[in-house]
Symmetry: C2
Subunit: 349 residues, 2 copies
DNA sequence: TTGAAAGCGCTAACAC
DNA sequence: GTGTTAGCGCTTTCAA
């Protein structure tokens, strides 16, 4: 039904080989023959069959992109950037969404191996390493983006989460906060290495300055406005008394700010709030949320490029961390220092 | 290098066919043979080669999802929903991002045909119909989602944009606006049928009530906070004087509200503002933007399901429009009616 | 400059 | 219940 190379060969009165070669530039085919073949091919509406090509050549020129949640704008941004790089190398990219499910992760990676992809860019749920084991077993070059679990020892291009926690805590210290709080993700997500590393670094930097994050000021809220609001409302009614907080993300921070104001606290003055993500809406004057901007585009670009270095065996392991940037806005910039005496005694940078 | 069916057959001392059949449930193979084959396959780390399967079977069980911009949260949401449905049918989904470029669209669709996909879900830029022509030429079932150009006559599951423009205008009428304004997308995007249809229906419903949208109150801003703010600031300095506006999307509306307040207008009272998208942040008390919520998830689900009806020839053309919902918030709910005398004379529903 | 022949890995007819 | 044979559409030797 659909035209094949044989059909063209039949009409043109040449061999299959000649037709195949006619599609490649600078092949040994004569000019006239090529023109004739190409013309007939176009008349017959010939489109090559990728499956046959791949089978014959053994190479697929496909890279897989496996990600936790493609509806997360940062992940879809990475997908788009990676795709551009990958196409620049003459490869195709197939993406798949694991929905944070380790079972689906493994299943997707198996499919990708069936498909004989030549490399994989991934950001996994960290709940299982079966997917990575599979890739290693079949010697498929792969690289992790954004974050990676503690046990992971392969290639990655990641956010420097220690730096992230550190710059936030340092900023809070600098503006005068002496009683920090941590408003984390919900229970499932708070095991994710990114949050663990950010909050650990945040706490560590305060400890270096002899300031402790009180247990009552460490809570798990979630990644949405609503969860941030509800959980923080409740916390304030209990004994939450921090003067500066880091939140799991910007949406959560917005919920937190709302609850705080409702409780009579002035944002930026009584309570400094920092988010993570630097969403477009965070810069609205009415929100004006200080936030951490992470270099997702650059991560994706570097990772895709690095993957080809692995594929071409120019390198055997690549581990890169990129630093975030703190965007300071009103939610932290009008803080009133309460305890200046403290600074002289303890404060160090 | 990688184990094939022949390798397994060799070790097990059976034929290729037997091995192939062993992987299929309820095939005629004996129980013991199957167990032996499966065991050896697992020992050799056998993973079937999709290219070979597809080539042999002629069927690929692949659906393509071609979309303008996967970083648009609504589009990625549709991709995810569609993928779930498609997997439920035992197919795989490959997605590709055309970045609103008609050239890339065509190129992507060509690739998908090379890949012998069995169906395509798409949302195209509307700047060219070459992609659709290709699909038709090769008799590949396809369905459009979200929007479609005027010239398009194929299957679709779309937003009912007329309804969208109508409910917004009716709401503005109901609260007492008598001098409407339209704040559209930038020049490139404003040719997109979705915006044209929404704004036309908006205007038409006002006209039915003998109210005209003045030329000076129709402006093109854009789809971002910043463009909304800048363009509306300028418009207010000129002669923009509407008392109720529809904006191209929520982000634009936020920029508009910011500029309006800076200019001394009270949102909801002097100027009613309606957005489109109903973003999560639009419900924040400080923003509280009335907005149109469009049924993207349902569109994607219906479209994917409909595509299989087309593939299985249970149906030859499917055209469905789904209605949006207006979420009313403070940006329109405290409006002070100025001209009650008008109502008695003209107002109709 | 061209063609003949082989085969990538798998599955489907058909025969036993 | 199992094996033989052929072939999906293409590319790649190798020979002419």
């Amino acid at each position: 039904m659909r035209a094949t190379i044989k059909d063209i060969a039949g009409v043109a009165g040449v061999s299959d080989t000649t037709v195949s070669l006619a599609f490649r530039e600078n092949s040994r085919i004569g000019k006239k023959t090529r023109e004739k073949v190409l013309k007939i091919a176009s008349q017959l509406g010939y489109i090559p069959n990728t499956a046959a090509q791949k089978l014959r050549q053994g190479k697929t020129k496909i890279i897989a992109f496996v990600i936790n949640d493609i509806t997360n704008p940062f992940y879809s941004l990475m997908a788009k950037e990676a795709e551009n790089i990958i196409e620049g190398f003459g490869y195709e990219m197939f993406s798949a969404d694991s929905n944070w499910d380790p079972g689906r992760e493994e299943q997707i990676i198996k499919k990708m191996i069936q498909m004989r992809v030549e490399g994989v860019v991934f950001c996994l749920s960290e709940k299982s390493i079966k997917g990575i084991d599979l890739l290693n077993k079949y010697f498929i070059p792969s690289i992790s983006v954004d974050s990676y679990s503690e046990a992971y020892n392969g290639s990655y291009v990641a956010n420097n989460f220690e730096e992230c926690g550190k710059i936030v805590s340092q900023h809070l210290l600098d503006i005068g906060c002496r009683n920090p709080g941590i408003i984390g993700a919900d229970e499932t997500m708070s095991e994710f290495s990114a949050f663990k590393r950010i909050f650990a670094a945040f706490e560590k930097n305060f400890e270096k300055n002899n300031i402790e994050v009180k247990t009552q000021n460490k809570i798990n809220a979630g990644l949405k406005i609503e969860t941030g609001r509800k959980v923080f409302e409740k916390a304030l009614k209990n004994n939450f008394d921090a003067d500066g907080v880091i939140c799991a993300n910007d949406l959560c921070a917005m919920g937190v700010m709302e609850a705080a104001e409702k409780h009579g606290l002035q944002i930026g003055k009584d309570l400094a709030v920092v988010g993570i993500d630097n969403l477009e809406v965070s810069e609205l004057p009415k929100i004006s949320l200080t936030s951490v901007k992470q270099p997702y585009k650059e991560i994706a670009r570097k990772a895709a490029t690095a993957l080809f270095a692995l594929i071409n065996q120019e390198d055997s392991k690549i581990q890169i961390e990129l630093s975030p940037e703190l965007v300071i806005r009103k939610s932290t910039s009008t803080f009133k220092k309460k305890d200046f005496s403290y600074d002289k005694k303890h404060y160090t940078t």
